[in-house]
Structure formats: C-alpha cells, structure tokens
Amino acid sequence: MRTLLTIAWRSGWNRRATLALVAFSIGLSTFLLLGFERVRADIRESFSQSVSGTDLIVGARTGGVQLMLYSIFHLGGATNNIRMDSVRAIEQNRNVAWVVPLSLGDSHHGFPVLATTPEFFTRFQYGYRQRLALASGRLFHGSLDGLYDTVIGAEVADALGYRLGQHITLSHGAGGPGGIEHADKPFTVVGILQRTGTPVDRTVHISLEAMEAIHLDWAGGAPMPGVSIPAAMARKFDLAPKQVTAALVGLKSRAAVFGVQRFVADYPQEALMAVLPGVALDQLWDVVGVGEKALLALSALVAVVSFAGLIAVILAGLNERRRELAVLRAVGAGPRQVLLLLLVEGTLVAALGVVFGAVLVAVSTFGLGPWIQSHYGIVLDASAPSAAEWQLVAEIVAAGVIASLIPAWRAYRLSLVDGLSPKV
C-alpha cells in the first residue's frame, strides 16, 4: 500500500499541472459547500442568539416572522403601530411580569433608532440569558433632563468613531439622500454598550419621550410648515407616547404563554398579535429553508461538475499511461493493484482539493469575518469545523473516491487486456 501511495503521488506529481487544476476546481466547490454550510449555520446561530428571556413579542396583526424581523432585527417595517393603551392593558394581565414597548422608524447613518424605556436595558437578554452591559458611560433615565440622551451599540460606536459626549442628530425614516434630519434636536451619547453580536450592536437607543419630542412639530411624516418647537421647549409638552411599534413581554411563568398569547389576540380594542420568538424563528427557517435547499443543490451540482472534470482528466491521461501500467504489471503488480493505484490517485487529488477548499473557508472567515459582522451583524465562527462540516468534508471525499472508481475500473480492464504488451 505504501508503494502504491508513493507511486501514485510521484505519478500524479509528474502530471501536476492538469491535476492541480482539477484539485483547484474541487477545492472551489468544497469552498462553496463548506462556506455555505458555515454561513447558514452561523446566520441561524446569530438569529437565535439575538433574543432570549422574552416570552412574547406583541405588535399589530401581521405575519409572525415579520413582527419578529422588525422588532428584534430591525429589518423591514411595521404595517401598523399599536396604541399605548393596549400595551398598558397587556401589562395589567396577571400573568405578565413586564412589558417593554419599542418604537422604531428613525435612523442614524443607516443604523436603526430604537425608542424604548430604560427598562429595556435590564429586561432584554440575548445568547444564553446574557444581559446587556455598558462598555462606558451610563444609561438614559427617561427623565426630562436627560431627554436627548442616547445609548449606542458597540458597532455604531466603532463604525462612526463615536465617544461619550458626542452630539448626533437623527434622520427621519431610513435616512439616505433626500431624507430629513431632526437637526434641531441633537442627542448626546451618554452610554456605549458592550458588543453582543446581536442587532443591539447596530442600534441607537433613545427614550420613548425623546421619540415624541423630535416628532412634536411633525405631522404625516413631514415637518409642519411654519411650526418649530425648539429642543428645550419640547420639554413643556406632554411627551407620553400614544403609540409604539411593538412590545416585548416577559411572563411570570412560561406556562401561561399560550393564555397570554390568546389574550392578546382576542384583545377587543385593537387588532394585535403575539408571537413566541422561538416559534417565529422556526417559521423563518421554514421560509428560508427552501432557498437554502436550492443553494445547496446548486453547490452540490458544482461539486458534481468538478468531479466530472476529475474523471475526464484521469481517463484522458490513461491511454498515454498504458505503458506505465504495463511496467507495473511486469514488476509484479496485479490488475487489482493497478485499480487501487488509480483509486489512490483520484482520491489524493480529491482530498487535496478538499483541504484547499477548507483552508480557503478558514482564511475567508478569518479575513472577511469582521467585515461581515460589521455590515450584516452576522458573527462568522472561525473556530474548528462543526460536525455538519466534517460530515460534508467526508461526503465530498467519498464522492471523490466514487468518481475515481471510474478511471480505476478502466485501468483495471486495460491492464487485464494489455498484460505486458500495451496496445499503443
């Protein structure tokens, strides 16, 4: 076996130019398959780590996935707001421990602005029941003195280079060209949160009252003409929010979750819904799963093409190597050893390709990881391959062995027919 391995290696090295190309293409398909698997797994991990300790998310009646996406991930928008009365009514339910209202819609340099109560910072949990923590500064109190205080996520601070005491202005809506700034009411950064690897990192947090204040002189999504309320004056108005976008709900006992969900759904004054974050995520995966399968099938197809290349290259070279096979037969190799030799050769090429692809995945996660995290909030795990990835690697190598069987079988037949006198 060692002899065959040595011969296969030397023989292959002799044809390294063509075989390297094949290994390269197998490497690229391995990269596709492995990279896809890693991104897929890490996206799921990122998403499922983004919220914990919240039993229900309440919002206007819409899809469960949609409610989850905009309230937690700040993706997409709400179809409707909910009234603050409704939130209070839910708070009164005897099974409900706490309610944290959320109000979304504005942005700052593309980062979403979340208006909420100070309680958000103690109630919101992520990962395995980890709480938010400050990296520096303090939280906002919700008092009128600190009306224009803001607490920003780690990514916001890093990307924009903000430090405590920085004055920032918010953009109405998603911002961008043609957007309108709330320039008359600048905010002060009073706190920067520690990095969490969740959408919180990319969020600018302000109080619900501040959200009311910056929209006092607005109506129908635009500033009222001729009306301007200076920042300090705003404090004299009633800043209690009338509407919010959604609310996080914590229960006294998880057992009551379906009861409260029904209570919300049947709430007579307004069309509301409540979703369990885990269930909404499962629904999301069901939707995304179809696309994932299509992508996986496509990557698998690319792998099949590269293995077809492997078969073609080795088969094409075989005719020129009939003398080589005859020499091996002459020194005592049997047709089975010839078969094994070609099998080893193909497997070596496939294995090298897989190693190349795996290294490429490792290098890219290492190199592109920070960029992907800052742009998409997805933490790519640069650690050791997961069980699923090992399985994938094993499957690709197995496919390589199966593909190599075809030229190996052909070589077996040739060496049987040719014996010591190759017909070249």
């Binding site: 023989s11 020499v327 020194v331 047709p335 050893q337 010591l420």
Partner: protein, 237 residues
Amino acid sequence: MIEIRNATYRWRGAAADCLDIESLALAAGGSLFLHGPSGSGKSTLLGLLAGVLAPRTGDVKVLGTAMEDLSAVQRDAFRADHVGYIFQQFNLLPYLSIEDNVLLACRFSALRSKRAEEAARSPLGHARHLLKGMGLDEELWHRKASELSVGQQQRVAAARALIGSPELVIADEPTSALDAALRDGFMRLLLAECARAGSALVFVSHDERLADHFVRRLSLPAINRASVRQGSEEVTA
C-alpha cells in the same frame, strides 16, 4: 526451470489457438535465444512464462510451479518474486529516478527485496551494484528516467530485471531500439550479469544476428504448431 508440455492458448473470442507448443524446456541458469518475428505467438508465450496468461490446455511449469494451477493473483505474486522482465522500449516510469526504477521490482516482492539485501546488504546497495555492472555512472543514478538516452534506459531496465536475483529473466526484443554498437555492448553486459546472478535468460528477438551470443537457439514459428496451421490457412485463403 521452464517446462512446457502441450500448452495451448487462445485469445478470448478467437476461433483458433494462437499458440500450441508441444514441448519447450530450459534448465536453471540456462539461456535461450528465441527467434520470433511478429505474429509468431511471441507475446503469448512470454505472457505465459511471466504468468500474465494461463494456458488453455497443457502445462506451463516455471520453477516447478504449474502456472495453470495458480490464480491470477498468485501468478502476479509469482512474477514479482521470480521473474525479471525487459521490454523492447519504455521500460521505466519517467517520473521516478533511476535508482527508484530499479528498486521498483523489490517494492512488489519481499522475496526479491530480501535477496537483494543478502547480495549487497540493502536493496539500494544491490541496485547500485547492478547499475554499475551495467556500465551506468553514479552521476546518472539520481536523474529522472526521462533524462536518459534509450541505450541507458535499456540498461537500467536490465538492472531492474536482475535486482533481487530472480530465477528467470525474460527479455522481449530489448535491443531493437538500439544501434549496432550499443546493441553488442548491451548483450554482453546482460549475459554477464545474468550469469553472475545465476538467472536463466529467455531472450526473444527477430534479429538473428544476436543469436551468436547464445548457445541454445530456437525458432518460435518452428515450435509453435498454431502458427504453422495459421500460415497454411492464410495460404489456402
């Protein structure tokens, strides 16, 4: 050493035998010149002797072992242990060094490897000894086979056939690619090394001038009854 009795061989799907030899014998350490033009059943006979083929009927005994009694796998192992083979041309694996090409024969046979050790302490030692014996300078030993001239390649092939002192060396027109001067040099070296190793030599060629190097000569068409029949068929057709 070699004992053939009424051995016939027929290619799969063929209507008639291509080889039919009543008797052929060679003593241990002996040498034999077989004159065989192409089509005289040369490849078949050598295939039988090397154990790549098994006779359809009759007996092919090498070293007292009946080839027809062995399985294909056993015959391959037998060849590895007891037979050295030299082709007309293209004997070497181009991607291996000269030394590794010679050692290749030991890689497939523990017996040959052991005998090479006995002869020169190590297989590599025996390989170098044989290469030197075949007139190949030390500076060539680490070169790739493809860098050598045809004459040099054939001498490397002879060294490989002889490493581990196999009982039988089969040479299939090994000089046909060499010019006259090289040819005689090669013949002398091959015969001398075979004699030193105590290996029997079956030498096939269509070049009758080489027969002078041998005491015993045979014409393959003369002993192959199948070729006579085939010949007459061709005439009648």
